[in-house]
Assembly symmetry: D2
Amino acid sequence: MGIMRALVKTKPAPGLELLDVPRPEAGPGRVVVRVMATSLCGTDNHIYRWDEWAQGRIHPPRIIGHELCGEVVEVGPNVTMVAVGDYVAAESHITCGVCFQCRTGNAHVCKDYRILGIDEDGSYAEFVRLPERVLWKTSREIPPELACLQEPLGNSVHAALVEDITGQSVLITGCGPTGLFAAAVARTAGAGLIIASDVSDYRLDLARKLGVDHAINPNTDDTDLIKRATNGEGVDVALEMSGSPTAIHKCFRYVKNGGRVTLFGIPAAQVAFDMPNEIIFKGIRVYGVTGRRLFQTWYRLAGLFKAGLDIRPVVTHTLPLDKFAEGFDLVAKGQCGKVVLRP
Amino acid sequence: MGIMRALVKTKPAPGLELLDVPRPEAGPGRVVVRVMATSLCGTDNHIYRWDEWAQGRIHPPRIIGHELCGEVVEVGPNVTMVAVGDYVAAESHITCGVCFQCRTGNAHVCKDYRILGIDEDGSYAEFVRLPERVLWKTSREIPPELACLQEPLGNSVHAALVEDITGQSVLITGCGPTGLFAAAVARTAGAGLIIASDVSDYRLDLARKLGVDHAINPNTDDTDLIKRATNGEGVDVALEMSGSPTAIHKCFRYVKNGGRVTLFGIPAAQVAFDMPNEIIFKGIRVYGVTGRRLFQTWYRLAGLFKAGLDIRPVVTHTLPLDKFAEGFDLVAKGQCGKVVLRP
Amino acid sequence: MGIMRALVKTKPAPGLELLDVPRPEAGPGRVVVRVMATSLCGTDNHIYRWDEWAQGRIHPPRIIGHELCGEVVEVGPNVTMVAVGDYVAAESHITCGVCFQCRTGNAHVCKDYRILGIDEDGSYAEFVRLPERVLWKTSREIPPELACLQEPLGNSVHAALVEDITGQSVLITGCGPTGLFAAAVARTAGAGLIIASDVSDYRLDLARKLGVDHAINPNTDDTDLIKRATNGEGVDVALEMSGSPTAIHKCFRYVKNGGRVTLFGIPAAQVAFDMPNEIIFKGIRVYGVTGRRLFQTWYRLAGLFKAGLDIRPVVTHTLPLDKFAEGFDLVAKGQCGKVVLRP
Amino acid sequence: MGIMRALVKTKPAPGLELLDVPRPEAGPGRVVVRVMATSLCGTDNHIYRWDEWAQGRIHPPRIIGHELCGEVVEVGPNVTMVAVGDYVAAESHITCGVCFQCRTGNAHVCKDYRILGIDEDGSYAEFVRLPERVLWKTSREIPPELACLQEPLGNSVHAALVEDITGQSVLITGCGPTGLFAAAVARTAGAGLIIASDVSDYRLDLARKLGVDHAINPNTDDTDLIKRATNGEGVDVALEMSGSPTAIHKCFRYVKNGGRVTLFGIPAAQVAFDMPNEIIFKGIRVYGVTGRRLFQTWYRLAGLFKAGLDIRPVVTHTLPLDKFAEGFDLVAKGQCGKVVLRP
């Protein structure tokens, strides 16, 4: 058994430790992947900060991290879908396979799934063990710092494309990574108009780099721009990617009658709605979106890359594994798009 | 010009007056219908009581009423779709025909529609004038006291069948007329399990007459019945027909991951949601439903009648026009299903 | 190891032999089911007759049969979803689990599936070995002679409900078992009008027992009845369950513009279409349907049973296993609905 | 009343005559449009050649032409949606508004529609009279030689986007104008792979200019390229835009199990299908597509233009009205994309 470096939540307290730990071994239906890139997610930041949610959910010791790509270096018995040398990313939800949701095409809302880096040791390490069925073979044309982002990017693909978006007008509230990814996806999918909003000018600059039509800061800009840009109609599609109550209400205000709203961002507290005017009389469809459809979203994403989806502007920082603290500081300050670690 | 009896909101105050007024005449594209039955709606009760909503919306004098059936007795120039003698009901939304919604198959959420009995004189009268395009030819096999109910029944058809319900488990919160109608529709459409809830035992009795599997009073019954009746899964479909915040949350609590919620009932105040747990992580679809699809819902309803849809238990009272005050008292007390007036 | 009786295709020739053979044993992920009822399918009849298709597809020796229900009597290692004593039916398609179709919710058109009773020993026996993942736990309220029919009935559920059928007018061509099942499903699902056609008066009688509105024999009846019964519009839905070219064209002729056609019946030869007038200018949707959605169709079917789906009139004959020849004779003559064997 | 130049089918024989005719006048609900550009369609060529179809359908004298854009120069009584000076294109189907299809959102398959340039005088003229409700206000950013193409382009939008195409692999058979337009639409909508096929190298060159991934000539190229380019899976989507029986079968052969086929091209004779292997066992969806959805397709197209849809390579020739014979010769020889006339 070998040794590897890994970022471990060793105790119930803020921070992570970079340690030498035993390298995992493959088992039945499981493989070992050498991690080539792994990225920082808001969830990881919660665990790093050890906030209330993390305290109730994580049981140290645990290697965290769930966004990754790498190369298969060992396969266990009964593994048939991948081979040593394959270049792969991974679905982070390890679903039960037997619940109603899993058996009816909705495994992304499995009633009993386990999450990589939370319920099992994750990817902030040189190697990670994974069930073969969560692996996603990836084209070598996609470099590791992008390939590792397919998991969070898949969230945005799912959120943006839960209904067809081609030729439609789109409001995206929140220009964190998933909002930015959603903008890139909508652009590639032929959205006719994309308005992105955020309170951070740094993030709005990133949105502009992705080619949105309008990037607006509700603190300083005239938000009636949305009405003007849509001839007073409002948008066909609103993608709520921020969790901000103000932004949530903006989505319901500006979506047109008969339109659709995707809710992806997680508010920190309850949000009160004027249901008749925000939802019922508008005759809209509201989608709660979480995770990625297994594996429709992954196939769709592969097609989007072929169609020219370019998310490089979102990757603002690439760091070696031991600079993780610097990465989490960037996340805390919001002065970054996606931060990628290279173990 | 003849004279007819009509219930008129003559002044900005509670009540209605039964008066002799001029009988309307047909005009270009318009017809006169002799009203054979017209029913009481919650909206009419708001106008009768002259509550805050009504004070801001109604401009007396106005003949109210918008649920009706009758016989065409006069047709104006350019009328081509109906003829004198036709037995008809009427869509109550007089849509603009030119807005985005009207031009893309969503006229039920027209940005500029007028409502019969609110923006134009309505059906609590011996005769009513209507644009031909809102008329719906009805089979004579459906007697007037049921035919006049097609407008509110259409709401329930729209709400229940916004997605296929066949073979699915359904929770219906609220057993007022639209909830009861939704139960009848779901039963006819082959729902596998129907659980109806209401705080009124009177209304639960009506639900039982419509053949629901379980009629539960959350004040007295064990609401865990919903979990037990669905093997712990929750329901595939929740139809919120009450507007009660408690009931609304029940829908989101008991719908299964990947299921759908229809929101039809109108809450009186804002409702606060735990969005992650009630919507987002469940991966559900939420539909705001209002009105009827023009005219898909009406065709669907005609098919449901042929399929055996039986709403007779919902019609608890039929009164002559001059007993209207008795009808509104029944509505106020909740001791009724649908109250039908026969002018 | 025990002995059991089974119907075996022992050699490449017509017929089957009732033999004593070794009783199967469970293995990893596999269970043994004591067969309580197993029914005759057209496919089995092809194998029995040893027609050209069977000669190219079946490799004797083989126990045939793929429609069954029974009780689990032995479970192998790693079996988690069922237990000894469970009352089960079985999906007959043993899908690969790894192809594009399997990974995107379309396992019913898996590129590499194996079929029970063709590629593996089947259910015309006292016991059968099955992978646990094809088992479907069934309510004991459904007796064996109906529970074994869930596989073919699932075909009809899939065919009829590929789109919502509630309140719609339906033409069903072909009143063999799958056509009859489709009629029963459409009736339970609230179809507004059901017209069934077949050239066999025996089968039309069965259709009438299932409550269709019209059962017509194109050889003797006025087929313009379809136009009359639909006010000249044609039907919303045509379900082609016969494979007869005449019937296929009837579906395309009588479906209304904008309607849908399900193609399920298998024609024996090529069929020539007037594509512009039968498909393109009508703006219709045509669905090729095979198998059952895994496992949406099975859940849907369970709900339909709860909704009152009654297929008993279709089960015209129940025979002991050793009377199989009598059963196949009935199938050959078309003087039966479904024939069930009780091992 | 003024005089204008127009191309008139004056008698039941091949050809057209350029004549001075009375300029049309607006009437109730009707407007006069000064034609700025009008394009040649295959239908117009049939009329020009006076083939069997044209002989049965056209009643001279008739000004033909139905693809146009221009400026409103006169409005009749009751016209409310457009004004003098508006820049407009036109839907060529003048639908009845009262049939089942028109009342349920499927006016594109209206049972009783009239066609511009066939049933009413058309656009090969300096002026054309049109009902206001078929007009489509167009952005001045789209020049006349492209704006006039919105009608045929709408066919391709409808055909390509009848289901979401983003991220999917697409086979387009036929690179006439509608096939080329479909390629441009699919590219803008983010299709992951586009393979276009045609027997004309001239047209394949146009396809390449639109950015398809592969442009193949089945007479000379290795059509197994389709399998190779899709990893042996076949395509998600096949768009049949040619009407060629060989191409039609190619669509059904190469679409993957569970995929979809759009049928738009019109074959000249019956086409025989191996239904089990081409449709049923593949579990595919087949869409007959004709016309444009009123007006969803038009709105969608406006959004596509904003998303960057560029169809300029398809417009290979622009001619003055009096050079019409040269245009029809180009069409007959297939040495053109779209030919636009400028009256």
